[in-house]
């Protein structure tokens, strides 16, 4: 009858040591601080861009042979481009665009070529009385700006027309119209229409989550593999395996190293995600009301965060056990690189399979299939959940398959770990390994 060692307390003792060893190391602390600062920097970069944008003034030249028309154009374009955001003090708010009438077209063109002007709006009256508005910019025109100038052209035409109305015409002054963009094929979630901004936001956050999951699996998975290989190279493994069962050791190691990885991950990701989620508020505090330009993260519900946490943890656990097995195959950490490459390719398939789901808003049959297959499901199912509605039974099935695969892979990893100890110092082939793994009780 084989000895049956309970998982606890030894797995917890191993996990505690592995965790403490890592989080106390100087390299861990330094890398955590650097990565957290970097992530925070990336999250706050849009605010910095907004700040720089708010400080710079774009010069536009308006050229027309008709001076009255040019002055009128300045008024209309100014109203559209220099529209102060809600809540700003208009007295102190600095207009982002400065508009000037340039009488000489050649001088305006020279200024455009030199970079003194970001654009030249040329307005001519054609023979049939119609206005011809040309917006000239170096390079590709900014889409929003071009659109606004297009509006301005229409407004200008309306003004020009009203200017020629009889003096007794009872018309209010021209006002720029409000404009919204709506899609007739908008997605819905639980019967509620999902806005385009929300879809874009979820796609963005989903991509961030998938990339983070992929990187975490690669980096922290290698920690697990290196930890196992280091025990073999320092020969402490044989002492360990007489003190605790392979099951206690492998599970403790995966939990401890995984915990250290997750701690670093949380230390990096949470401040960055908070900065992203609170970007508008931060911008408002730092830049005033003018710095607010629409929250970058919307539609991120508690359910989605829970799904992310669940699939991240299960996905990480699955890969961590595989990495533990890989670490058992080699005698030195240096030998890991060759074996780790195919494993990272496996994770990469999941990662690359998930990206199209996020880009296309759902993906096809292959994406659906991948969301059930354990090595890939953490990526693919998470991506599906982020951008669309997934029936609960599909999520449940995916989770059941994922958990089952973890149990199977963990059992295999424990056997391979034990075999790795027994074959210490040798250069066994796969067959030797399988033979050793099968003869372990």
């Amino acid at each position: 009858m084989a000895r049956s060692d309970p998982l606890l307390p030894n797995a917890a003792i191993v996990a505690q040591r592995e965790y403490r060893d890592r989080v106390r190391s100087r390299l861990y602390l330094v890398s955590t601080v650097i990565l957290a600062v970097l992530a925070l920097g990336v999250a706050l970069a849009p605010i910095a861009a907004r700040y720089l944008d708010s400080r710079s003034v774009t010069q536009l030249a308006i050229v027309s042979s008709d001076a009255a028309l040019a002055e009128r154009a300045v008024g209309v374009v100014d109203a559209l481009l220099n529209n102060p955001p809600q809540g700003v003090d208009e007295a102190t708010w600095q207009k982002p665009f400065q508009l000037g009438v340039v009488g000489d077209p050649t001088r305006a063109e020279a200024g455009l070529a030199k970079g003194s002007y970001a654009g030249v709006i040329r307005i001519e009256r054609q023979d049939d009385g119609r206005l011809h508005v040309t917006f000239r910019t170096p390079g590709v025109a900014d889409a929003t700006r071009a659109q606004l100038i297009g509006f301005a052209a229409i407004g200008l035409a309306v003004l020009d027309w009203t200017a020629n109305l009889p003096d007794d015409a009872q018309l209010d002054p021209f006002q720029a119209p409000q404009f919204d963009l709506e899609s007739s094929t908008a997605s819905t979630a639980e019967g509620r229409p999902v806005s385009q901004q929300e879809i874009a936001s979820r796609g963005f956050v989903g991509t961030v989550f998938i990339v983070l999951m992929f990187l975490s699996i690669l980096i922290y998975g290698m920690w697990v593999a290196t930890g196992v290989a280091a025990e073999k190279s320092s020969r402490v493994m044989e002492l360990m395996i007489s003190a605790a069962s392979p099951r206690q050791l492998v599970i403790g190691k995966v939990a401890g190293i995984g915990g250290a990885g997750l701690t670093q991950y949380v230390a990096i990701a949470v401040p960055a995600l908070l900065a992203l989620a609170l970007q508008d508020r931060i911008a408002q505090v730092l830049l005033g009301p003018g710095g607010v330009a629409g929250a970058p993260i919307t539609g991120l519900t508690g359910q989605l965060l829970l799904a992310y946490g669940t699939f991240f943890l299960l996905g990480f656990t699955l890969y961590a056990f595989v990495y533990a097995a890989v670490g058992s195959f080699v005698n030195r950490p240096d030998d890991l690189q060759t074996l780790a490459l195919p494993l990272s390719l496996l994770a990469m398939v999941g990662y690359l399979g998930a990206l199209p789901i996020l880009l296309t808003g759902g993906g096809g049959g292959i994406a659906r299939l991948m969301s059930f297959l354990p090595p890939f499901s953490p990526f693919a199912m998470l991506a599906r959940l982020m951008v669309g509605h997934v029936p609960p039974w599909e999520v449940a099935l995916s989770l059941v398959l994922l958990v089952s695969s973890i149990v199977i892979v963990a059992a295999a990893a424990i056997r391979i770990y034990s075999a790795g100890v027994l074959l210490y110092g040798q250069r066994p082939g796969l067959r030797d390994f399988v033979a050793a793994a099968t003869r372990i009780r």
């Binding site: 007489s242 003190a243 110092g425």
Partner: protein, 310 residues
Amino acid sequence: MSLEVDRVTKRFGHVTALDRLEFAVPRGAIFGFLGANGAGKTTTMRICLGILEADEGAVRWNGAPSTELSRSTWGYLPEERGLYPRLPVLDQLVYFAQLYGAPADRARSEAMRWLVRFRIPEYANRRAEELSKGNQQKVQFIAAILHEPDVLLMDEPFTGLDPVNLALLREAFLELRDQGRTVVFSTHQMELAEAMCESVAIVDRGRLVAGGPIRDLKRASGRRIVRIGLNGTAGTGWLDTLPGVIVRSSGVDRTELELTDGIEPAAVLAAAVANGSTVTHFELDEPSLETLFIDHVGRPADDGERTLAS
């Protein structure tokens, strides 16, 4: 009350690492497990610990099969020495003891006591990688005993130790024996085994070739050894010519002879006197453990590098 290795057989593929190996160690004894490389010593220890499973036979402690015993029954010093290089010495000693179920506080105070006894208390908070090999070995020994196991399995515990550390470890072995612990150790150093063990098992290619109390083994060999010291112009070369006498070794002031059946020690003494030599030393002894080992195995213990999958 003893450790029984009962007709244990272990095969690795086509190689039989242990072939119905059988011996018993009384509780509270120091037992030498002797064999050349690849004889099956490590495999036997791993089966005792439950790392490997015997194909046939069983290991029992106090009548209970080893597979049903707690891990803390055993204290193990593997031949492949290893510590966590970057972990402070005291921390890893407490860690190992905790895994065996010892309370951390008690393990910490006991570990400090042993570090003081082994004259390395200043290394308690240093990383293991900063210690010399000999000192690392002492730390590993402490790791094997902190949880107060009933049986200590020590694979080549004295290899690589300088004479001072060797004496410290020997004293520790004797103290553990006096506490009632059973110590089984493998070694190539026959003089050590002879000096420390009441009983031994000599294994070769997985089989027990001789076993029991050393005194009994010597007596059973039927061999007689004479150590003689001679002064005089005749030298010692003539000893070789005596019928029934084999010169085993010649030293500066002692020559070791083995007497075959039919010749008595007194005949050697008489021949020396007749040759005009002055006899400064004359001792009748039994064969050394080294000699017995060679007799049974056919080669010295440190000769032969047959390596099994173990």
